[in-house]
Symmetry: C2
Subunit: 223 residues, 2 copies
């Protein structure tokens, strides 16, 4: 009897139509955490053996990663994990300062619309109690703080734009030493921003947020 051609069993079980998403998430996580180093080439045959899935799936995932600037396409050489020069990092922070400052302003303007105040206070109650010395928890709380403000700004495109800006910054900061003193200073700045938003003071909210982002830039980007 003839041996039917065996089909590859995917590394992880997944539903039909999710392969590209699984591969994309896996690679993105690997890039953010440093599992794949900046500049490193991603060779499909190695990834096939390591993660499963097939070439076409990886190629589609590569296109998404390239669109988010996590990798760069090199003609006839596939893709490589993006390197960020200090200058480009500074440029990212410059845009982030602008967009997040605007988001804080809008959030303050709209704090009394709908359930905004309730949502913001729920987030803030949790974040303000966080222990600044627990680094992983602090990073998560920080995301939550900034994410909520951006959502409350009420612009449908702002969240995704900032997410794109933050991923490379995360790649960078992950390897940055974050001192106790710095997280505490960050906490204090969050407090200033939160108060301005809750008090409905747009100008102050924007100024405080911009200052906060500028300080993060000075801390993260080598001059």
């Amino acid at each position: 009897m003839s041996n039917p051609r065996p089909r590859k069993a995917p590394a992880e079980t997944h539903r039909h139509g999710e392969a590209v998403d699984v591969v994309f998430d896996t690679l993105r996580q690997g890039i953010i955490t440093g599992r794949f180093a900046p500049g490193q080439r991603l060779v499909i045959r190695d990834l096939e053996n390591e993660i499963g899935f097939s070439r076409s799936t990886f190629r589609e995932a590569f296109r998404r990663l390239a669109a988010e600037r996590l990798v760069s396409l090199i003609p006839n050489r596939g893709v490589a994990v993006q390197r960020l020069a200090p200058r480009e990092m500074a440029d990212l922070f410059e845009i982030r300062e602008l967009l997040e400052g605007h988001a804080a302003r809008r959030a303050a303007e709209r704090i009394d619309e709908g359930d905004h105040r309730r949502r913001f206070m729920a987030m803030w109650e949790k974040v303000r109690r966080g222990d600044p010395s627990e680094r992983a928890a602090f990073i998560e709380d920080n995301q939550s703080f900034h994410g909520t403000i951006v959502e409350l700004a009420g612009n449908s495109r702002l969240p995704e734009m900032l997410k794109q800006l933050q991923i490379p910054i995360l790649m960078f900061q992950w390897r940055t030493f974050m001192t106790r003193q710095e997280t505490e200073l960050s906490q204090a700045e969050h407090e200033t921003i939160a108060k301005a938003i809750l008090d409905g003071r747009p100008e102050q909210a924007e100024a405080a947020m911009r200052k906060h982002v500028r300080r993060a830039k000075r801390r993260s980007v080598p001059q």
Copy 2:
């Protein structure tokens, strides 16, 4: 004698490694010009017959289009040309106002660095002479004006971010009736912005640009 399997000849001659780019450009152009209507599904087999190239190439091009928000992915239904609600259009303009206003400020601050003044004046000499009643030329000059300012702002990420914002706006405006009066008003606003930049007045440049974008928004987005 056996007939060797014929290979598909691509619709247009192109070099190795450019198929995805050709398909991407073709589809993007078709979407911007209205050849593919908002909401319309893009079915790969039809596109294969019409443009040439194969499924995997189209699937990769789709990922790029989806990343630029020109199409949306629908599970098990492929992709469809993105529809933009007036609200989302307004959100795009809100971000564009912010980023382009910032770009105008930076351009004014840096007008005397390097060859900035020469480059800006070269563009402006050409654009100011444009006939506002020639619509196609006006659209091109408009791109040139805004593009130069964004480049002179000196932020490496700004140009691509604004390009992404402008594509859906173009999709929309392409079908907008642009009166003679409006292009002339636009010209006059360009003049104000150009003078502020050439005079090195960042505050005025930003304010004029923001006003310019806000007026374009009022003209383009149904309230």
